[in-house]
């Protein structure tokens, strides 16, 4: 199922401000590629460009053989590009299970069933149960999504993204706002996913990034200034100057 995401020469400007300034980026099947950078570097814009919510001024986005540069959001999702949002995005009035069932419906192609379809619904409920167990939300299926804790909502988002059995997963700060306990669980969960799909991970939590990532790219002012293994990036003087700062260079290094 896995496939390579290949982003070439991606550009996006708002007026004179180049938010994405010629980004080349690949996510190989089965790897976690972390994207780090200071606030305002254009990380979320880059995710939005890849997911299709924002149209690039130039460049191409390939998933496997398919050129998705001009495809709308829902078609990219159907092609195997799933995402989680930086700000948690679920259907609050739905139960936790129905959120996942909706995601399964999206993965299953157009569902123009105007009638209740008990057998298909049972199968979806069963798969939803399995997905919820996988992200540590077993037993929470009947709760309204709005009533979940922040960390649980993040886990639910992940279950929704996984429902599509994506080829590439875009995770926009999955650790943001979670407590230390939830954060550790999330790191383990993300680590367990990379066998199934390639992951592009945007994250501020450097411990998590250096534990999870196979490759790290550093985005500063819309450009990738360094890319390599976590060790290479950590040692890169330009990265230290631009971003990591003294604290990480001395304190967090093992």
């Amino acid at each position: 199922m896995s496939a390579r995401l290949d982003v070439r020469g991606l550009r996006k400007s708002y007026g004179a401000l180049a938010v994405t300034d010629g980004v080349d980026l690949t996510v190989e099947a089965g790897e976690i590629h972390a994207l780090i950078g200071p606030n305002g570097a254009g990380k979320t814009t880059l995710i939005s460009l890849i997911a299709g919510e924002v149209r690039p001024d130039a460049g191409t986005i390939l998933l496997g053989e398919a050129d998705l540069t001009a495809a709308p959001v829902h078609r990219r999702a159907r092609a195997g590009l799933a995402r989680s949002f930086q700000i948690t995005s679920t259907i609050p009035a739905f139960s936790v299970r129905e959120n996942v069932v909706l995601a399964l419906q999206g993965a299953g192609g157009p569902s123009f069933r105007l009638w209740p379809a008990p057998r298909a619904e049972r199968a979806r409920a069963e798969r939803a149960r399995a997905l919820l167990a996988r992200v540590g939300l077993e037993g929470r299926g009947d709760h309204p999504a709005a009533a979940l804790s922040h960390g649980e909502k993040r886990a639910l988002e992940l279950a929704m993204a996984l429902a599509a059995e994506p080829r590439i997963l875009l995770l926009d700060e999955p650790m943001a706002g979670t407590g230390p306990e939830e954060g550790r669980a999330m790191v383990d969960l993300i680590a367990s996913l990379k066998a199934a799909c390639g992951i592009l991970l945007v994250e501020h939590d450097m411990d998590a990034v250096f534990r999870l990532a196979d490759r790290v790219s550093v985005l500063v002012a819309g450009r990738i200034i360094a890319s390599g293994t976590p060790e290479q990036v950590r040692a890169d003087p330009a990265v230290r100057a631009a971003y990591l700062g003294d604290e990480t260079a001395t304190g967090a290094a093992p």
Partner: protein
């Protein structure tokens, strides 16, 4: 299950009306049920899919004109005229919906209003069918050649039957996988798109269905009043339908019935019947009944909002 209990209680109350009331009241309640049918079709897309249509009366009016024009041309049979009225209204909804549903929020309200007014002015200019003055029907439609609808009691039960049928149909559709997409896109369209679902075709089909159901209510209204006029399509009436749906949702919330989901359609029935009956009751007391009716609505919204927050 309280939503279902509300619906069953309403339908039971409507069913016993002919046993206990005179012809005038029966006709009034029949009228209320016809508007309840239109309100259910509006709530199907408004409450169900979050589409605030301000042109719903046009769909109802097209159904009414469908029956009127066919009768003028010599077709009295309901089994032909009613499906034709539904098809005409549904088609109008599909065509205007295809354009309107490209917009969101206030723009959607304005563009449905514009299409509604367009239909209104077309009805006004139909000089062959009464133009501004409207069109009197020679008689009520026949059903399979029988003149059953002539009897107020039979008409009452036929309307009640159709109201129950359409309400059940809308509730089933909202509960289906199709309806799940509508309800989800109402809450978080961006999320739905990111899951690989484009809400547009779902909304368009729902809008077309709502149009056909509203057309059916118009066909019934034309038969009840034995008259159709451009006023049937006016934006005032679209506004009244929205008031019925919103007041009904508030009343249901005040009664402790959870708004949202398939269960909310009972609110639309309650709202339509309540608005028509309260209007009529107040109009008997004073010609300035709107002075009382307005504050009543405000009270209802406050009460419903208060109970809804506590729930």
């Amino acid at each position: 299950m309280r939503a279902l209990a509300l619906l069953l209680a309403l339908f039971a109350a409507l069913a016993v009306v002919p046993l206990a009331a005179d012809t005038y009241v029966v006709a009034l309640v029949t009228r209320a049920m016809i508007f309840a049918l239109a309100a259910v079709s509006l709530d199907f897309i408004l409450g169900g899919a979050g589409l605030v249509s301000f042109g719903h009366a046009a769909l109802m009016g097209i159904g009414a004109y469908g029956v009127g024009i066919l009768m003028e041309e010599g077709t009295r049979e309901a089994l032909i005229a009613f499906p034709a009225a539904m098809a005409a209204a549904g088609l109008f909804a599909l065509v205007t919906g295809a354009v309107s549903l490209k917009t969101r929020g206030v723009y959607f309200i304005m563009i449905t209003l514009a299409f509604g007014q367009m239909a209104f002015f077309v009805a006004q200019s139909l000089s062959a069918y009464g133009g501004d003055d409207g069109l009197s029907l020679a008689a009520r439609s026949t059903v399979a050649g029988q003149r059953w609808l002539k009897s107020p009691v039979t008409f009452h039960y036929a309307t009640l039957g159709l109201l129950i049928l359409i309400t059940a149909l809308c509730a089933l559709i909202l509960a289906s996988p199709f309806g799940r997409v509508l309800r989800a896109a109402k809450e978080n369209e961006r999320r739905v798109r990111a899951l690989g679902i484009d809400p547009y075709p779902y909304r368009l089909v729902a809008y077309g269905l709502a149009g056909a159901f509203a057309g059916l209510s118009g066909a019934l209204l034309a038969n009840l009043t034995e008259f159709v006029s451009p006023a049937f399509l006016s934006w005032h009436r679209s506004g009244e339908l929205i008031v019925m749906v919103v007041a009904g949702a508030m009343a249901a919330s005040a009664l402790g019935v959870r708004a949202g989901g398939a269960g909310r359609l009972g609110g639309a029935v309650l709202g339509a019947v309540g608005v028509i009956l309260v209007e009529e009751g107040l109009a008997h007391l004073t010609e300035h009944w709107r002075i009382v009716f307005g504050p009543l609505l405000v009270l209802l919204v406050l009460l419903g909002g208060w109970r809804g927050r506590r729930a």
